[in-house]
Amino acid sequence: MKTTYYSASMELSIPSELGYEVIARDAVAAFALRMGFTHERVEDLKTALSEACINAIEHGNMLAPNLRVNVACMCDNDRLLVEIHDQGLKHHTPAQMPLSMADKLAGLGSMRGMGLLLIGQLMDEAGFDPNSPDGNRFHLTLYRQHTVEHVPSQRTE
């Protein structure tokens, strides 16, 4: 028998201050659990959402305390979509290929920059909306029928 889930949505607005991503994470996790996603998938979502919010706070809004990060969640029978929207002091253009661990250890770049790599591996879909007219819009999608394999995409030694 096919399970029927009801459609639901939720919106949050947080200040551009590190630490608030944890509050957004916990709220969205509670929402996803209520919508019937498994504990394991919700753990993936928690990490991905935290990283997306940190990017919005640090890179999009550049830690300006008067700017907000909005988080909108929409869920239906097929998927959970979360959109993270900052007020875009800076257009966030991440590097095409994050450095491998070996490169980082060799001092070839910053120790940071793992956030988008993690998001890409944990979510079924994720990415920036290239046509956003007002700040950076980044979306995360979890499908109820999970088909993506978690294969590390980093280069190895």
Partner: protein
């Protein structure tokens, strides 16, 4: 800043310097973790265990701190392991490649056994 407290403890057990990390490992944790690592290294530690608590939050900034520790461990010819990570964060450590440089154990006892096996091998 909405800062989450990380409590860091240092102790010795069976020749291993254990750094207990209780709380969130984020950008706010850098000084505490680096300070604990410096202290055990200055005390002559050859084997270092980062002992996490199952339910903690580790973000990419926290992972960056741990990559810095791996760099120092390599430079100082020490051996590093981690224990106490939840299944989720064990997966995260494998995804980012940290597992290539630090053995991951379920708990402290298993880690100590692992260090012992490595020294007798």
């Amino acid at each position: 800043m909405l800062e989450d407290e990380l409590n860091v403890g240092i102790r010795q057990r069976e020749g291993v310097a254990i750094i207990d990390l209780m709380g969130d490992v984020t950008t706010f944790a850098e000084e505490k973790i680096n300070s604990a690592y410096r202290e055990v290294t200055e005390g002559g530690a050859r084997y270092v265990l980062l002992n996490f608590r199952q339910n903690d939050y580790i973000n990419s900034a926290g992972i960056a701190i741990l990559i810095g520790i791996v760099t120092e461990v390599n430079r100082n010819n020490q051996k590093l392991a981690v224990s106490g990570l939840s299944q989720h964060f064990q997966k995260i450590f494998r995804m980012v490649g940290l597992a290539q440089y630090a053995e991951i154990y379920q708990d402290e006892d298993e880690a100590l056994q692992g260090f012992k096996s490595a020294t007798t091998a």
